[in-house]
Amino acid sequence: MTDTHPYIEFEKYSEHVPPSIPLAVQQATSRFVGGRAARVAELPQWEQLRQIGSDIRQHTIENMDVYLTKLEEKVEEAGGHVHWAETAAEARRIVLQIAKENNVKNVVKSKSMATEEIELNHALEAAGIESLETDLGEYIIQLAGTGPSHIIVPAVHLKKEEIAALFSAKLDINAPTDPIELARIAREVLRERFLNAGMGISGGNFLIAETGTLVMVTNEGNGRMCTTMPDLHVAVVGIDKVIPDWASLTVFLKLLARSATGQKLSTYTQFITGPRRAEGEFGPKEFHLVLLDNGRSKILKDPIGRDVLKCIRCGACANVCPVYKNVGGFAYGSFISGPIGAILSPQMYGTQTARELPYASTLCGACADVCPVKIPIPTILRHLRRRVAQGDELSESSMPAPIRATASLASLALAWNWIYRLGARLLPIINPFFRKDNWLSGMPYPLNRWTKVRPLPPFGARFRNWWKNVRSAKETESPR
């Protein structure tokens, strides 16, 4: 059974953004943009690495069935269990089943977009299992009951005073407003939970097909705690995270932290191949990998749109996006925000449900310039706008018929030179009907959508003539 995602109201939300959001988000993004620029400048082969990263991701997408089959074989060889989830609902059912079989009452979670995507916490709680987010930012927003405003620093929209008040109320203590003290309190509270949890749940940054290895990149160490302390580890990972081998991984590790936080490497990068092998060692006795499809295999069908699956989730595109910086993460109405969210959500949830998102962009192209795996985000945005407007095999067009008719005429005129020229000669005929003080106004539907807001200059100015004149004038001025 497929979940139906609620309609994403980007425009409505973005009209009422609380002013604190862009302020906090821009502080975060400017720090990350600066850090990234410094790291990139140190690495002369940066552009070469991006190209290789892009090529390997492309190659992996085109051969995904082979690598996933290999991955499954290798994880099982290492003593792990592999589960395939076609939908979010199936993934939730699998995780709940594992929890029930092992009589789990408490879960510790490390930050993971895949578990956000399948809304796992709700499902666990509904089944009477306590699920605790342990990344500091995620812990704070879980206590606050809100969503993330930024991919790397999810609670950046909250002030330290608000966090202190939250800790005081929820933990029944008198919390100070010092960020370092607040982090210390979280460490103490969560330490107890790590030690007593029955199951650790994580996502994963990469899956190495060569050896069946789960790669997790974190800074706080909570990801390591979740996979070291409990006897049971369940990783929920999108099928798009598979990469061919360890040699490929070196490319992505060099790209990821530099693009995300401006670090050379994140503090902890762990490589987990199956459950623990030695007695006396820590780490889980049982390791489960849930491979999540949830629409990804369907996205592969679109040769332009599928490049979204190259993403390694660094957030660099959001950090430079003028739209994201003004509305923050909530407006994108999904687990993933920013330019990458604008091209993923419409493909995952349907071009009707997320039809506003391809337009949530100025097409300035800054996202494509920084993307470590060279996803052509503006190209995909334009492609999805076309899918939204024309409809596709999965959903109908969302444009009113007159707009579509006008657009078809315009595309005809732009495709055929003689039609364009004829139109340009004929259009001034209508000038006298709408002309007021040298401007056109009060035009009929659908052109009134323009003239309601501002007048239109009269038709007649012709670029070709103007250009011809300018050029001949220039040539006579300065002969070479």
Partner: protein, 210 residues
């Protein structure tokens, strides 16, 4: 037995179970090492940039360095990797003679959680990023570098590798491998950098100068 996800992928890509795997694009040329001295200097310098404490140390000065560390960090209980090199350096004995209680690295997790200090070696070091690479085993449990609030790694120049490419070539058969690049950190509250949120707050790296 094929599954539905793989079938859907193949249908979308227009492939079958007979479709060949195309050739993976080549990767970059791995970084080459400079002289040992400059690699060591770079490694120690990178750790300092990450708010870690790093120094070269002669084995004869280990006892006094441990004494200073114990006083500075108020260490009462410690756990140490059970390796030949650390035994040879007499780490556990020195700690005990300084009045520090020792927990076995294989002790119960609740006991490891009471330790103030965890001492490990490393299997490899990355000079470019100031990274410790640790392979885990029964003698070298993964919790020792994670759970205590202070982590001390005693390392030597032979462990240095110029590029992570060489590390992976040697270590990809491990069941658990971890890169440690500086102490645990977060900037989740108002972007204020805070050390030691879940992992160790303090990272010490002593490069044996033998």
């Amino acid at each position: 037995m094929t599954n539905l996800v793989i079938e859907n992928i193949r249908r979308s890509l227009g492939r079958t179970d007979q479709s060949p795997l195309s050739l993976r694009p080549d990767i970059y040329e791995p970084r080459l090492p400079e002289s040992v001295d400059s690699e060591v200097a770079r490694f120690l310098d990178e750790i300092k940039k990450l708010s870690g404490v790093s120094q070269k140390l002669s084995p004869t000065n280990i006892a006094s360095a441990l004494k200073a560390l114990i006083a500075e960090q108020n260490i009462r209980k410690a756990t140490v990797w059970n390796t030949a090199h650390l035994r040879q350096l007499g780490i556990a004995d020195t700690l005990q003679s300084l009045g520090v209680e020792l927990a076995s690295p294989n002790a119960d997790k609740h006991e490891i959680a009471q330790c103030d200090l965890g001492i490990t070696e490393a299997d490899y070091l990355l000079s470019e990023t100031g990274t410790l690479v640790l392979r885990s085993s029964a003698e070298k449990p993964r919790a020792v570098s994670l759970v205590p609030r202070v982590h001390l790694a005693i390392v030597c120049p032979e462990m240095l590798r110029a590029d992570m490419h060489q590390v992976f070539a040697e270590a990809k058969d491990s069941d658990y491998l971890v890169f440690i690049t500086g102490p645990s950190r977060t900037a989740d509250i108002e972007l204020t950098v805070t050390l030691g949120v879940h992992g160790p707050k303090n990272l010490y790296v002593w490069m044996m100068d033998e």
